[in-house]
């Protein structure tokens, strides 16, 4: 009978946890605190002329990227196709047609958006991605196991993977020049290199204010929307544009942070491991109940037959 006694004990100790089983209060996502002083970059795509100096500067400052000669960045033929970042390129500039044929072409620069509520940070199984309080999202390749869940999770499809690297593949994306420049008090290399000052680096809240002021001061020059101000909870890199954002390959996203979909589910199911313990206790209780009932029936039969 020790089996059933053990089960019974388990049931009693777990009974308390059953009270918490239906607890729905744990639905709050574990959102990292966003510092109000964090940095941001405002990109004014109406100024970009497609000179690709930002790409060149990025390649120069990041020494672990494969070296590209300067002539690569002077090639205008690359604009024939729409490029995306890959394992050797943290940022790309693409060319788009404007709404009216006679208008000048529109150029837009892509890189990691350094979201306020990053999907990659939430998705990574070993925590290889961290979000610095200044806003930069950095990657620690030492922890990475190469599962590529972050690639699937990113709503902007930013991270690139070194599929061709056999032994030590890494996830590659813009680091906001965190280690190379931000910690030294300098601005990111691409921001510095741009001759047209397309990008403005500063406090994110200030930049948002500036952006809205710019829109008001220049009616008709910008679409009255700052992309990245609220998309997926807000991103550090924000954009102004003259043509609709989906026409310059920015996905139309909602304002709810992406981890806000999975984390409430996970936290509700696993809050302090109580729901699993509750299930555990419930199963134990059922087992005990059914087996003791059967034994009782058997006992009755034996008694009855004897």
């Amino acid at each position: 009978m020790s089996n059933s006694r053990r089960t019974f004990l388990k049931k009693i100790t777990g009974a308390g946890s059953l009270l918490f089983f239906g607890n729905k209060k744990s639905a709050q996502a574990n959102i990292p605190k966003v510092s109000p002083d964090q940095f941001g970059v405002l990109v004014d795509t109406t100024r970009c002329v497609g000179c690709r100096k930002c790409e060149e500067a990025c390649n120069t400052i990041n020494e672990d990227l494969p070296r590209k000669s300067v002539s690569v960045f002077k090639d205008k033929d690359v604009f024939k196709e729409r490029r995306r970042m890959d394992f050797g390129t943290y940022t790309v500039v693409n060319k788009y047609k404007s709404a009216n044929v006679s208008d000048k072409p529109v150029f837009a620069k892509f890189q990691c958006m350094h979201c306020l509520y990053p999907a990659c940070v939430s998705a990574c199984i070993v925590g290889a991605f961290t979000r610095d309080k200044d806003g930069a999202i950095t990657y620690d390749s030492w922890k990475c196991i190469g599962c590529r869940y972050c690639l699937a999770a990113c709503p902007f499809q930013v991270p690139a993977y070194e599929f061709s690297n056999i032994l030590t593949p890494q996830v590659r994306k813009c680091t906001f020049c965190f280690d190379t420049r931000l910690v030294k008090g300098q601005i990111p290399a691409c921001v510095q290199a741009c001759p047209m000052e397309v990008m403005k680096f500063g406090k994110r809240t200030d930049l948002i204010k500036d952006a809205h002021e710019n829109i008001k001061k220049n009616p008709g020059r910008y679409i009255p929307h700052v992309y990245g101000e609220k998309e997926v909870g807000g991103t550090s890199w924000m954009y102004l544009s003259n043509i609709p954002f989906n026409r310059i390959d920015f996905p139309k996203l909602g304002y709810h942070p992406v981890p806000g979909y999975t984390e409430p589910i996970q936290h509700a199911i696993f809050k302090w491991l109580l729901p699993p313990l509750g299930v555990y206790a419930a199963l134990g209780g059922i087992w005990f109940f059914l087996s003791s009932k059967k034994k009782k029936v058997k006992k009755d039969e034996e008694n009855g037959s004897s």
Partner: protein, 555 residues
């Protein structure tokens, strides 16, 4: 028993898979008239009270039919009835009284398919006979924002629609700024709406008007109408009607904006002439509805309409005008517009007649001040001037300058003196502009990193700007001071100081601070110089847009 169930399930599966097959064939209908991407192919308008349609709207290639039936005896009359006065009624279907769905559909099916069948029987090359060949679902159907109606004919929306639209609307917090909740019915409605492809409106400019005037021997009544009151009023005064009288009170149903009225008046006359084998006007759609417009330059020689208008006017309020009156050169404005309508909408009247101080219904509730000063509307003075500033000759400077109402410019218009309109103030010769201390060619060598110093042809740039300004009436009127042009680059500096204009690097520092609101020197040079070159879009020699064009690379 299990065999029966399995069989049932198999049949169910096959039935379901038929849906895919059907969808696929709707796709692959090859008989789409690909050649008919012409202007005159438009979707047939379905009357408002027919709420649902079972098939895709039909794109009707009108000109194709006109061409084909040219040699036919009946010609246009095959489809368009002759009404009273033997005038062809260019509406279709003919029996407008029958607005029921069945009558509407039958009017097309009986006529169209009937005619095609007839011609087919006579072995003449003719149009489609089957449903799917007219009711085509193709790219135009998608691009025209048709809302799908019934599942069978609903083409699969591209994944982007669903990915973008529904994923945003699906936001659990439902707080996405301009997104509604996920009520799928709001996407798929039974009521059909569609936005027609814009067919270019007929631009009846001065050139055409002049042509018609000559052809019709200045008989305005052929096209224009006078109200009875106006007729009697003029008779009393013993005057002949002038153009202003014809257009001052336009009855609503006689507006050339109404398709039926315009077609009735224009095409009937043209057809008439054609029948008499005289030189008439166009009969085909795209010959009037041209995509390209004539420019003001094309019409420099064309005579403007005689309307007893004053050449120069002083625009003022009747009473209580505190600012000086505005001197307005009507004649020179006539030279740069394409038609009277560009400013005067449909009628030839003073702006203040409909646009009252407080705004009235006649003037669409636009107040008088707004009608002159609106920055965004091309009907208004300021708005039109803003558009002019966006042209490539002007945009080089004006792209970076403040737009809209500038306090400094009020006096330029509100000067109260009509004679000022004749004033011309061209820039003095370059030698006078460039004194000894202003260099003609400069070397910018302050920030040299990857490139050598830049040779800056100051005199050439000023010469070009002066040329542009002096050649434009608008520019030379508003560039009141000889030095105004200099402000295009030397902004925020006292221009009378001339040679003591501060260097760019004084305010636009070399060192870039993260929180600096003014661009650093690198940004300032490129935004100013390169920005201007891009806006003005000149040749590579004149206005290089390539790095090496302004400064050579360092070896």
């Amino acid at each position: 028993m299990n065999k029966k169930i399995s069989l049932l399930m198999l049949i169910l599966f096959m039935v379901c898979s038929l849906f895919f097959v059907q969808n696929k064939t709707a796709h692959s209908d090859e008989s789409v008239n690909k050649a008919d991407k012409e202007l005159s192919s438009r979707f047939i308008t379905i009357p408002e009270d027919i709420k649902t349609i079972d098939r895709a709207p039909v794109k009707f290639p009108h000109d194709k039919h006109t061409k084909a039936l040219d040699k036919d005896e009946e010609g246009c009359e095959l489809c368009h009835l002759k009404g009273i006065d033997n005038i062809l009624d260019f509406t279709y279907p003919r029996k407008k009284a029958d607005a029921t769905r069945e009558a509407f559909t039958n009017s097309f099916h009986n006529e169209c398919i009937g005619c095609h069948t007839e011609k087919n029987n006579e072995d003449i090359k003719t149009g489609p006979l089957t449903c799917g060949e007219c009711h085509v679902i193709d790219d135009d159907f998608h691009n025209n924002d048709y809302l799908p109606i019934m599942p069978e004919y609903y083409e699969p929306l591209r994944d982007t629609y669903h990915k973008n639209c529904i994923s945003c609307h699906q936001d659990p917090a439902k707080k996405a700024e301009d997104a509604g909740g996920l009520d799928w019915k709001s996407f798929y409605v039974k009521k059909r709406e569609f936005i027609e492809a814009e067919i270019p409106a007929v631009n009846f400019d001065y050139f055409l008007h002049d042509k018609h005037e000559k052809a019709l021997d200045e008989k305005c009544e052929k096209c224009h109408a006078l109200s009875e009151e106006k007729k009697s009023e003029l008779e009393k005064l013993g005057k002949e009607p002038v153009c202003r009288d014809w257009l001052q009170e336009l009855p609503e149903d006689k507006s050339y904006k109404i398709k039926e009225y315009a077609h009735s008046v224009c095409i009937n006359c043209h057809l008439d002439k054609k029948d008499k084998n005289e030189d008439g006007g166009p009969v085909y759609c795209k010959e009037c509805h041209l995509a390209e417009k004539r420019t003001a330059d094309d019409m420099l020689e064309v005579k403007r309409i005689e309307c007893e208008q004053d050449e120069k006017i002083l625009i003022k309020l009747e009473k209580d005008m505190r600012m000086k009156e505005v001197a307005f050169n009507h004649q020179s404005h006539q030279k740069v517009t394409l038609s009277c309508q560009e400013c005067h909408h449909d009628t030839i009247q003073a702006c203040s007649v409909c646009h009252t101080l407080e705004g009235s219904d006649k003037g669409d509730n636009i107040t008088l001040a707004e009608s002159y000063h609106s920055v965004s509307s091309s009907w208004a003075c300021i708005g039109c001037h803003e558009n002019e500033k966006k042209k490539s000759d002007c945009a080089g400077c004006h792209n970076l300058l403040d737009t809209g109402l500038l306090e400094s410019a009020c006096e330029t218009c509100h000067n109260g003196v009509i004679e000022d309109l004749d004033k011309k103030n061209p820039h003095p010769a370059l030698e006078k502009l460039f004194t000894d201390d202003i260099k003609k060619e400069m070397e910018i060598d302050i920030i040299q990193d990857e490139y050598e110093l830049s040779k800056f042809p100051h005199d050439k740039i000023v010469a070009k700007l002066v040329e542009i300004s002096d050649n434009s009436t608008l520019a030379s009127y508003f560039h009141t001071d000889n030095m105004t042009l200099c402000a295009g680059c030397h902004h925020l500096t006292p221009l009378t100081a001339k040679s003591s204009v501060p260097q760019c690097r004084t305010c636009h520092t070399v060192r870039k601070e993260p929180t600096e609101a003014t661009p650093a020197l690198l940004g300032a040079y490129h935004q100013q110089c390169l920005g201007c070159h891009i806006q003005m879009g000149g040749t590579e020699e004149e206005m290089p847009q390539d790095c090496a064009g302004c400064h050579e690379e360092k070896k």
